[in-house]
């Protein structure tokens, strides 16, 4: 395999709450012969500010993120929503010439994690770190923003030691939606309750998603119920054979 370089955009939720996801990604990519770097001083992609309508503030965060990754060959992102933000919203937020062009360049080189494995590296065979039945939830931005439903399923389908079982209404929102989860917590929680019920009905040991926001919401719902189902990021599952 030719030597490739990739920068990890760990994202705020990944950095603060799910550092093991980043660790798994680094290990996996390295095993695949990719040279991984992590540009220092990362914070957030700006999506929470953007979604709530604070666009001038989001643009300031976007500007510094674009400069952080300006020399990256590829940028790998563990969350579909953050990848969508970079790919779809960055150029529009930066009206000024040079940086806007830079952001378009960044958008083209940015990949959600499962897409990077399947569509860029072309690797699909891994061994599960958590043997058993798994089910997959389609995160909204990955599915409807980046139009990706296949890459994660391909990886899970071929995963040694894991059996992929279908999730009813897998394409329905988990109720996270960023600040939505705390602005309308009752509505958010009821959407979550339906998701959790569907997850438990699969009989899976493990619920997989490719977005830290959804994992925070669904994981929080599952542990609150003392469910036997664990919510994990795809990278944590693929990182078997350590």
């Amino acid at each position: 395999m030719t030597q490739r370089r990739a920068s990890l955009m760990v994202t705020c939720l990944g950095d603060l709450f799910f550092p093991e996801v980043g660790v798994s990604i680094v290990r996996l990519l390295r095993k695949l012969g990719v040279t991984v770097d992590v540009p220092a001083n990362q914070t957030c992609c700006g999506l929470p500010l953007f979604n709530s309508g604070y666009h001038a503030e989001a643009a300031a965060v976007v500007r510094r993120t674009v400069s952080l990754f300006k020399d990256s060959e590829h940028v790998v992102v563990p969350s579909g929503s953050c990848a969508w933000m970079v790919k779809h919203e960055y150029p529009g937020l930066l009206a000024d010439g040079a940086l806007a062009r830079e952001s378009e360049h960044l958008a083209a080189r940015t990949h959600e994690f499962s897409q990077f494995l399947v569509r860029v590296l072309g690797v699909t065979e891994f061994t599960s770190a958590v043997p058993g039945r798994v089910t997959y939830h389609d995160s909204c931005h990955l599915l409807r923003g980046l139009h990706e439903s296949q890459s994660p399923r391909t990886l899970l389908d071929k995963l040694k030691g894991a059996e992929l079982v279908p999730l009813t209404d897998a394409d329905e929102c988990c109720g996270f939606g960023g600040s939505f989860a705390v602005r309308l917590p009752e509505v958010s929680s009821q959407i979550l309750a339906k998701k959790v019920a569907n997850v438990e009905a699969t009989g899976a040991d493990c619920l997989v998603a490719c977005d830290a926001g959804c994992l925070m919401q669904m994981g929080g719902g599952l542990t609150r119920k003392r469910s036997r189902v664990r919510a994990l990021h795809l990278a944590e599952l693929l990182d078997g054979d350590r």
Partner: protein, 472 residues
């Protein structure tokens, strides 16, 4: 926080809806059915995707020259012997219809289902003028009996179970009614038959109006629309100005996708094309025909941020797939048009301040934009409304300060790292076995129903900086 404190009126209404077990049952059954039927209808219709693009393109092109198309429509209707009225506001539209009713000596009006007449609150105005409005669409008939308003754009009584409808009929019509849809429909049909014959005035909306031919198009399933447009002496159609389409050829594109998106039918049971009043030698039809063109905030948006919403066909597909609508139903939104598109239409009609809370009644999951037959980017416009709410300082100051603070933290890595350390320190009393189940103050909004992962003892970037193994 208990219910009530800090909660916005919208959040309180939504909370009430979540506790209404009848509503929950009715919503789950109906929206699930609609979603499945729509999916099937398009699965067997590969040309659907291209037609959706085409429909959107026709809407865009029509908006581009709306004045010209409206002039053509007016000329066509007048050529047929009809009268056209223009209403800048809901109040103007109401008084136009009431004046027609008075002038023609109308005492009873039968109505076919119409969101435009709901939007202008026509029934109340008619009643105040001593004219009895009778809704003849089954769903509308149900909610009129119940003294309620529609909770869905195409299924106005979606919030009621058949048991509730049976109870309502028994009580209001003073006759025993079984909770069987067919039997209930038979009762309504019997009640309505004589109203059709008594009414002087027939009032409809319009799904489309064809400029070239002056044709008013009604897409219905119950046949009541045809009786409303043919039996009474006078027919008044009320439509938003954006409903005009240039030609019958354009109309065909919309008819191919509308029912599929709305009810999942290939075509609706009745597609009625009505042209002006009864002509010499014709056996049926009204003596007078009036078309009321309603602006109501629409024209200002042709060049405004909500322009895309003017392409809406009122099919209701975005409501059925919306996770928020599916939990709370239509009434909680508080305005005529519920659901994701309803938030945009409410902003159009009532102004941005009216939707300061509703603009956040979406997880931005994008299911609405996906289901929309003309691909309206609803999430994008909701975000733009949020921005306007922020920029015009309509949002509460506490929220604006919090987000500006967050922006500061995300802009400065040193503050970000400091915040991580502060989080770790402050969470100590609450973290238990790798999860946080109970937090005070605002944070309880999350932890009341969900656990929160604690801030990691070492963030990923801290590990990257200090672990040589990781970096190697």
């Amino acid at each position: 926080m208990s219910d009530g404190e800090l909660a916005t009126p919208f959040r309180q209404r939504a909370g009430g809806a979540l506790k209404d077990t009848f509503l929950q049952e009715a919503l789950t059954i109906a929206t699930t059915k609609f979603i499945g039927l729509r999916r099937e209808a398009f699965a067997g219709f590969p040309e659907g995707e291209a037609l959706r693009d085409q429909a959107r393109a026709i809407k865009e092109a029509t908006l581009q020259e709306l004045d010209r198309h409206l002039e053509t429509l007016i000329a066509s209707v007048e050529r047929l012997g009809g009268h056209v009225h223009y209403a800048a506001t809901s109040a103007e539209a109401r008084s136009i219809v009431v004046d027609i009713a008075r002038r023609t000596g109308a005492r009873m009006a039968v109505k076919s289902k119409s969101m435009a007449t709901e939007e202008i609150h026509l029934n109340e105005a008619l009643e105040a003028a001593g004219i009895t409005p009778v809704e003849t669409d089954l769903g509308e008939y149900i909610i009129q009996l119940a003294h309620e308003r529609p909770s869905h754009i195409i299924a106005p009584a979606i919030h009621k179970t058949k048991g509730q409808v049976a109870e309502l009929f028994s009580r209001e019509l003073k006759r025993p009614a079984e909770p069987d849809p067919e039997a209930l429909t038979r009762i309504a049909r019997g009640e309505l038959r004589e109203k059709f014959l008594q009414a002087d005035l027939g009032i409809t909306g319009a799904n489309f109006a064809v400029a070239d031919t002056g044709t008013i198009v009604l897409v219905t399933n119950e046949g009541n629309g045809r009786m409303v447009t043919s039996l009474p002496r006078v027919h008044v159609a009320v439509m938003g100005v954006e409903k005009v389409v240039p030609s019958l050829t354009d109309l065909m594109v919309f008819l191919a996708i509308l029912a599929k998106s709305a009810t999942g039918q290939k075509l609706s049971v009745y597609t009625s094309l009505v042209q002006g009043p009864r002509r010499a030698g014709e056996l049926e039809g009204p003596e007078e025909f009036h078309l009321v063109l309603l602006d109501g905030g629409r024209i200002a948006q042709i060049g405004g941020p909500l322009r895309e919403a003017l392409s809406c066909l009122r099919c209701g597909a975005c409501l059925n797939v919306c996770p928020v609508y599916r939990q709370i139903g239509g009434h909680a939104y508080g305005y005529t048009y519920p659901g994701p598109i309803g938030i945009l239409l409410t902003a159009m009609m009532e102004g941005t301040a009216a939707v300061k809370d509703l603009a956040h009644a979406s997880s931005l999951c994008g299911a609405c934009a996906d289901a929309c037959p003309v691909r309206i980017d609803i999430p994008r416009m909701l975000i733009d409304l949020r921005r306007e709410v922020d920029e015009r300082k309509i949002a509460p100051w506490t929220e604006r300060v919090a987000f500006k603070l967050l922006a500061r933290v995300l802009h400065h890595p040193r503050l970000y790292r400091l915040a991580a350390r502060a989080g770790r320190l402050l969470q100590r009393p609450f973290a238990d076995d790798g999860r946080i189940s109970r937090l005070p103050l605002f944070f309880s909004e999350w932890t009341r129903t969900r656990d929160l992962p604690p801030v990691a003892s070492r963030t990923f970037q801290e590990r990257w900086a200090s672990d040589k193994d990781l970096r190697a």
